[in-house]
């Protein structure tokens, strides 16, 4: 110690300890400890039991030192109790060490006691037994080693074969798309729609397995993925909801209500990728929920005609003779392969999609309430219900608010609309094909809903397009609203014939109107035009439209008669100028005198012209000059 003494203080580094690192990287520090806190912290770290066993050699000095320390510490701590345990331990060790010291002294002095080693008989050794025991333990050890080695080897193989597809990576991928939780040693997942608002009783718990644990060595390479899922048996297989709209004889067709299972649906192969397996199982669960819901409603809802639930099939009447059948097809691959005759499935994809959509809407409603405003309003009420009290809504308004449509009712409405739309389409197409003159043209609007669509029908005659008859059909659930050219509205029921009648009647009117516009252009005079005339013979259906025209000179009268059943007729009458003399003073012109009398029918087929309007145009042009 020749050098001048330098004071070295020994203390904890002045470095703030980190208490917490936030998500944004910010660190929260702890304030540095004060001297006394530091000391007490260090003192807590001392394990006094350890000291006792290790440092038996120099008992007295250590013990004294400790007691000194204790004395020194006492004034530091105003409240003694945190040091109580320390003091007690020290005291105990002091006592023990004193005793040990005494014993050692006694032994060393050999005044009162002598210690001698006790002689023991060497244990008898049986060579054979020993060998057996050793052998056994060696075998056990060897087994452990070999399984360990095997496992290592397998992992090695996995690692080398495809590093990407190891189990943990797969698990991470799985975790991104599915809910997982760890229960003891197994990993369980959930594939039900409960978290999305479903209240279906059936759960969808699956188990995540590691394929390498299951597979024998040889199969490792053939496995696509090192992760596999085990799906509950009731969700295995493939399912879908088959929706079919079919024409039946007037009574409900019960014979079709048998368990049908298309064999060609195909199953999910056992080694399919887990994502596909889970998706298919989830779909099975969804279909089951959907069908259960529909079946429950079918039993509860009191319709005009009862719905029928037979096995996995729901039957209900849409229109007389039209039946909707909803079938839950669940093919697990365990059924006997029934060779059904190649039954043509009229599966309606649109309605199936609507069903899925409707159930998802129900789920959505279960989960999303209308938000309360102000924020302390009661949760779970609709916006209108909240207003019911303050706005003093009447009884009927409240009842109306409560009513909601079941899934089955909604799908029934959609089906009705779909059937009606197709029927309308067929009627229009048939008429357009069968009636060449005039031309019928339908424009379907592309903007329609599942419950309403509209079509505009234009009736024109070729070459005379300036005169057209327009019709707008609004197809609803079970009625068709027709808005006619003159703004009249009429409502048709679902029967085909009503629409056919109406269009045919409109065609008759179209002819009459075209002829009237021709008359205007050629200077003819319209004597009378009756849309619904009561004249003529009785027809099976439809009404007759009549037009009478007089030529510019007034010497020719044409009478046109159009009926959907008996067709178009044209009659002509030429006036005899000699009759002029007999006109009474009430008749202002000679043409009025010739409304009645002998008309001659013209054979329209023999006339020249492309179509009816064209023929009459020709005829009128010819007669104008005559």
């Amino acid at each position: 110690m020749a050098a001048p003494s330098v004071n070295i203080s020994v203390e904890a580094a002045i470095e703030h300890q980190i208490q917490e690192v936030r998500y944004d990287g910010q660190e929260i520090y702890l304030a540095p400890l004060s001297m006394s806190e530091n000391l007490s912290k260090l003192a807590h770290k001392i394990d006094f039991y350890k000291d006792e066993s290790e440092e038996k050699g120099k008992p007295t000095s250590e013990g004294e030192k400790d007691t000194d320390e204790e004395k020194v510490l006492a004034p530091f701590q105003p409240s003694l109790w945190p040091w109580d345990s320390v003091r007690n331990k020290l005291k105990n060790s002091l006592t023990e060490i004193s005793v040990l010291y005494d014993v050692l002294n006694i032994v060393k002095e050999k005044h009162y006691m002598v210690t001698d080693p006790v002689s023991q008989d060497p244990p008898e050794l049986k060579a054979s037994l020993q060998m057996l025991a050793k052998k056994k333990s060696l075998v056990a050890a060897a087994q452990l080693l070999s399984t360990g080695a095997e496992r290592l080897k397998r992992v090695q193989v996995e690692m080398t074969s495809n590093t990407q597809d190891n189990f943990l990576m797969e698990l991470l991928k799985l975790r991104r798309n599915w809910r997982l939780k760890k229960v003891h040693n197994t990993i369980l997942g959930e594939l039900s729609y409960k978290s999305a608002g479903s209240r279906f009783w059936q759960g969808g718990t699956f188990e995540v397995l590691k394929t390498s644990d299951l597979a024998a060595d040889g199969e490792v390479a053939s496995r696509k993925s090192s992760l596999d899922v085990s799906i509950p048996s009731e969700l295995e297989g493939v399912a879908y909801i088959q929706v079919e709209v079919k024409t039946v004889s007037d009574l409900m067709d019960l014979t079709s209500a048998t368990l049908k299972m298309p064999a060609g649906l195909g199953t999910v192969s056992a080694d399919a990728y887990w994502q596909q397996k889970l998706e298919v199982a989830q779909n099975v669960l969804f279909c089951k929920e959907l069908f259960a819901q529909l079946a429950r409603e079918a039993v509860q809802v009191k319709g005009t005609t009862p719905h029928m639930v037979v096995g996995n099939q729901i039957l209900t009447n849409v229109f007389p003779g039209i039946q909707l059948s909803i079938v839950l097809c669940h093919y697990t691959g365990k059924e006997k392969k029934v060779n059904l005759a190649p039954h043509k499935l009229e599966h309606n994809h649109v309605l199936e999609h609507s069903l899925h959509q409707l159930l998802r809407e129900v789920h959505d409603r279960n989960l999303n309430y209308s938000p309360p405003h102000p924020a302390n309003a009661m949760l779970g009420m609709s916006k209108r219900r909240r207003l019911a009290g303050p706005r003093a809504m009447s009884r009927s308004e409240l009842v109306e608010m409560v009513q909601s449509e079941s899934l089955l009712e909604q799908i029934l409405k959609q089906t009705k609309h779909a059937v009606l739309r197709i029927r309308t389409m067929h009627v229009i197409d048939q008429l357009a094909v069968s009636i060449q003159d005039p031309q019928i043209c339908a424009h379907w609007s592309c903007l329609n809903s599942s419950l309403e669509s509209s079509v505009r029908i234009t009736i024109t005659s070729y070459c005379y397009e300036n005169c057209k008859t327009l019709l707008v059909l609004l197809i609803g659930i079970d009625t068709i609203k027709v808005v006619m050219k003159d703004g009249r509205v009429c409502t048709l029921l679902f029967e085909n014939s009503e629409l056919r009648d109406l269009i045919q009647w409109q065609i008759c009117q179209h002819h009459a109107q075209s002829i009237q516009s021709l008359a205007k252009m050629q200077g003819w005079q319209v004597l009378s035009a009756i849309i619904n005339s009561g004249h003529g013979d009785m027809e099976a259906y439809g009404t007759t439209t009549d037009v009478m025209l007089a030529s510019p000179k007034g010497n020719v009268i044409l009478a046109f008669h159009s009926n959907p059943v008996s067709g178009n007729k044209l009659a002509i009458k030429k006036l005899d100028p000699s009759l002029d003399a007999h006109i009474s003073p009430a008749v202002t012109a000679s043409k009025w005198a010739s409304l009645a009398g002998d008309f001659q029918e013209i054979n329209l087929n023999q006339l020249e012209g492309r179509n009816l309007v064209g023929k009459i145009d020709m005829l009128m042009a010819r007669l104008t000059s005559s």
Binding site: E20, Y23, L367, N368, Y369, P371, P372, H373, P374, A375, N376, A377, M378, L379, G380, K383, R386, L387, A388, G389, P390, R391, R395, L398, V399, M401, V402
Partner: protein, 216 residues
Amino acid sequence: MEAAALAPSLKNIAPQQEYLLQGSILDTHRDVLLHRLRGLCDNAERNFEAFSDYEAVYVLRNSSTAQQSQNQHVTFRVRHALDHSDAPDHIRYLGQAELGDRSRHTLVRACLDVACSSNVRDFLTEMGFRIDHDYVVKGHFFHKGRMKVTVYKIFRLIQPNKTDPHNLEPLGQSHLVELSVVAPLGQEQIGEDMKNFAEQLKPLVLLEKFDHRKIQ
């Protein structure tokens, strides 16, 4: 059909209780909490549901006994949504808060929410109520099942009775976070659910039952 429709409106006079947990979060960290809540709550796929309410607190004192006991007064809180003018006004009556022992996880108090027509302020004044104080709360709303979570900030009105945005002054630098359920008394399961939910918001926000009497 009719009877079933009308029954709920007449029956729900059963006393309702509010189970409440409260906490606060600094303004700078609010968005983190909002995103966490969006992930945890039911209306996850929708945007944040914002609300902006004006609340006025009305007090009715018994005029003759005013000197003897200050306790004899009734407080009604009247709230209406500033951003939804068609929503009804609400009178809220809150009972004395019960903290309970350690085994109870939430604060419980009687709670009565009554929707009413918009002339409620005049009507209460007419009844003898006097306005005590008023403020505006703005924030966001979430729900998980029947649990309601609100994250909001209180604004003071610089001039009384004016709720336009220029007249509002934010109070403090943090948002209040409330987790509440209104349900009939004696459903202890709610407290458990709420505690579990509050656990999931740690360490962002610490939801606890606060004794309001101590704060006052």
